[in-house]
């Protein structure tokens, strides 16, 4: 998950990736895709002909919804966090810059698995306790309206699914912040100067000149992050969230059909990531065609 080295975009004078530069590498016939397609097809054929495989598949499939919604929700929040923190990283304010840097560095220095444990089992319970304590305090001083509402927040009232999403979002927020930062810095300084020289404020220049170009530059990197997030969402199974990984584990555990359960799990992830990367490629191609 080396976020920094992922973003190596060639650029022209305006800091933009031109269509020709993107298509410099000669296209091979996608044999790899054919091979993966064969593996996927073979597995689905097995599911058709083997009752054991069919049984495993029917059960594990039930987790697809959780895997996909967890990924999409966590990713959307992560991109928002990333945008805000990424802007913070290049902000003119020392305070914002430092807060953003601390966040990014802390998250990047801790393994994802450990972060999930910490956020879901320490940070969120800590916050709920603090909130309900604040609620009691407010009730005591007479603000019963919000007081009662806050006091009613309990640790239990936040389901594991939500905690999983928050954990992934906070973690990936730091990664996408780095992507946005690199994207903003990939836009040449002259763009900001030109905008400022015309009388735009720093924020107007950011919003109308820098960000549109930065986001275009980082779209591939953001797409890759979505794919990573989909795979890393398997880690939330340790919170007993019933995604495909968790269900496969449970199924394998009591049926002892390890081979069936885990081959199907692999193929499910492979299918999902393949579909996602095709979508990402399609969007990239569309963007580069628009610039012609």
């Amino acid at each position: 998950m080396a976020v920094n080295d992922r973003l190596v975009t060639p650029k022209n004078k305006n800091g933009l990736q031109s269509a020709d530069e993107m298509q410099l590498t000669k296209k091979d016939f996608p044999w790899w895709m054919v091979a993966i397609g064969v593996i996927i097809a073979a597995t689905f054929w097995l599911i058709q002909v083997s009752p054991d495989f069919k049984d495993a598949f029917e059960i594990i499939r039930a987790g697809l919804g959780v895997t996909i919604t967890t990924t999409i929700c966590a990713y959307s929040i992560a991109v928002l966090i990333g945008l805000v923190v990424g802007l913070g990283r290049v902000s003119e304010s020392v305070v914002w810059r430092n807060i953003s840097t601390i966040y990014v560095e802390v998250i990047r220095g801790i393994p994802l698995l450990v972060l999930i444990f910490f956020i879901a089992l320490v940070l969120i319970p800590g916050l709920t306790t603090a909130l309900s304590a604040l609620g009691s305090l407010l009730t005591d001083i007479g603000l019963e309206g919000i007081g009662a509402k806050l006091a009613a927040i309990e640790n239990k009232s936040i389901p594991m699914n939500a905690r999983a999403i928050i954990s992934l979002a906070i973690t990936y927020g730091a990664f996408s912040a780095e992507i946005f930062r690199a994207g903003i810095q990939s836009v040449s300084k002259g763009q900001m100067e030109a905008a400022r020289s015309q009388g735009m404020s720093h924020w107007q220049a950011m919003r109308h000149v820098i960000l549109p170009q930065a986001i275009r530059n980082v779209l591939p990197a953001l797409g890759n992050d979505l794919i990573s997030m989909l795979k890393d969402s398997s880690l939330v199974s340790i919170l007993a969230v019933r995604d495909i990984t968790q269900i496969a584990r449970l199924y394998a555990g009591h049926s002892f059909r390890f081979a069936q359960a885990y081959s199907i799990l692999c193929v499910l992830y492979l299918t999902l990531t393949l579909v996602l990367s095709l979508i990402v490629k399609l969007i990239e191609r569309k963007m580069s065609n628009e610039r012609k």
Binding site: N12, K13, N14, G15, L16, S18, S188, G190, Q191, E193, A194, A195, R196, S197, Q198, G199, M200, S201, Q204, H208, V209, P212, Q213, R216, R291
Partner: protein, 249 residues
Amino acid sequence: MNENNAPMIEVKNLSKSFGTLEAVHGISLKVFPKQVLVIIGPSGSGKSTLLRTMNWLEQPTEGEVFVDGISLWENQYRINDIRSNIGMVFQNFNLYGHLTVTENITLALRIVKKIKKEDAQRIAMQQLMKVGIADKADYYPSQLSGGQQQRVAIARALAMEPKVMLFDEPTSALDPEMIKEVLDVMQLLVKEGMTMVIVTHEMGFAKAAADEIIFMDMGKIVERAAPEVFFEHPACERTQQFLSQILKH
């Protein structure tokens, strides 16, 4: 020149340091309305730095800058407002890469000057006609030649109806055959009486267009004179040396 007018730009005893390096040292100058000031000098002599203090892209370490009588130091809080009256053209054009030629011109009109879309587009078209590039209105900057890009950049600055235009080596990034088309546009502005400060190495243009020429070296003004005097009888040895170098090729 009408020296009794108030100066459009006045720089007083201005210095700018980057860390320990003093890029500009104790410079004072005035540019009166409709006057063209050309700044020349070797690389690293502080020309860009001086020019960029005139719209506060560079904040001086010492001294004062007045634009149309307004002290930039004292009016930093409304610097955006002030900048919208100062056009700037850069060596690398700096057109907004994600926007078409028209959008490049209308963006600041719309968000800085709050002009309606249709009006902004009309203004853009007028300016594009003036710089002779109206047929490229819907192109992206990357589809234009350097000369065309620079003319769009000039149109973009002019559309804001600036009181003064600053040029930082506007032809230095251009292939030789494109230099003329940009200089022609600038010459047109001179004729129209635009107040301009121009950093350039184009001596022919300087001779023809300038009311005054300033020669800078090591952050200081070495010599200032009207173009005829400057080119025919430069007083300082450093100027003579520079001119003989640059005019050789």
